[in-house]
Symmetry: C2
Subunit: 186 residues, 2 copies
Amino acid sequence: MSLRKLTFVTGNVNKLREMQELLHGIVDLHNTPVDLEEIQGSTQEVAIAKCRQAAAIIGGPVITEDVGLGFNAMNGLPGAYIKWFLKELKPAGLYKMLHGFEDKSGFAVCTVAYCAGPNHEPILFEGIHHGTIVEPRGPPVFGWNPVFQPDGHNETYAEMSDELKNKCSHRFLAVEKLKAFLSEQQ
Amino acid sequence: MSLRKLTFVTGNVNKLREMQELLHGIVDLHNTPVDLEEIQGSTQEVAIAKCRQAAAIIGGPVITEDVGLGFNAMNGLPGAYIKWFLKELKPAGLYKMLHGFEDKSGFAVCTVAYCAGPNHEPILFEGIHHGTIVEPRGPPVFGWNPVFQPDGHNETYAEMSDELKNKCSHRFLAVEKLKAFLSEQQ
């Protein structure tokens, strides 16, 4: 039986490889890098608009993926805007943003969106990992990982082994939901 | 001589009235409220995308207007995202965001965009007012006005009389540039 094709719209080769491994045997995952506009809004609104746009451009079933980091003291902001703040402030500056607030809790959110094709409504698969925003610890290799310490762990994402992180991350939780959905559809 | 028509795409009746007064005798300013998507990006990128979209929907010449508030300690952020932070944090929370940063300077920016019609490039008219982000002072009636004290003044925007504010504001500076441009075109 040949698996049905699904396009992952991402410019990130590592994300593609990881997603291909996770969805192995379920779908035939291809990649098309397309420049997608990101709207302002909640992480859900941003993901829906982006996935809808991707399906319209590709003309078939697609998945997209977005990550955000929310601070509870800011009611979930920066959220979908985290990449802009990370770019300008680096991890140390993200932590500094909370200096005046007592509540240092936050959450990492991964939103995988699936859209069956043009004019279909995207379906969201969210993985949320609650934790604390801390002073940066661990190698500053990947994004805001040094400032996020998930609940139930003593390490930040940056201090964790890939193996441990992959098993507990916001991303893993979202992809697990997508896997269940795609498996049911077969 | 009849003035040429121009559409101001805004849902804000007060802004329309004010703009009509400012452009009196130069253009015949109408209003059409249209829901426009705002993209993520710099204040310029957001304004260009929005005005282009407005011209495509209206099918003729349009102006749009955006305001932002940037913190220099954050390299200009929240900038175009200020409305989301204001909504969640209120003016007092905006000031709190800078608690961990020594540099409290910032700037108010108004971006008026003009687009001649569908498939034309929008032209931007920016008014920037430099100042300081302070603890909220003055009536909390309008947006982030209580936390912005422009350079050369002892009052925040919220503490100023309308007359004074209108003569020195980021908005006034942007509209003056638009006026000069439209007058030349006649």
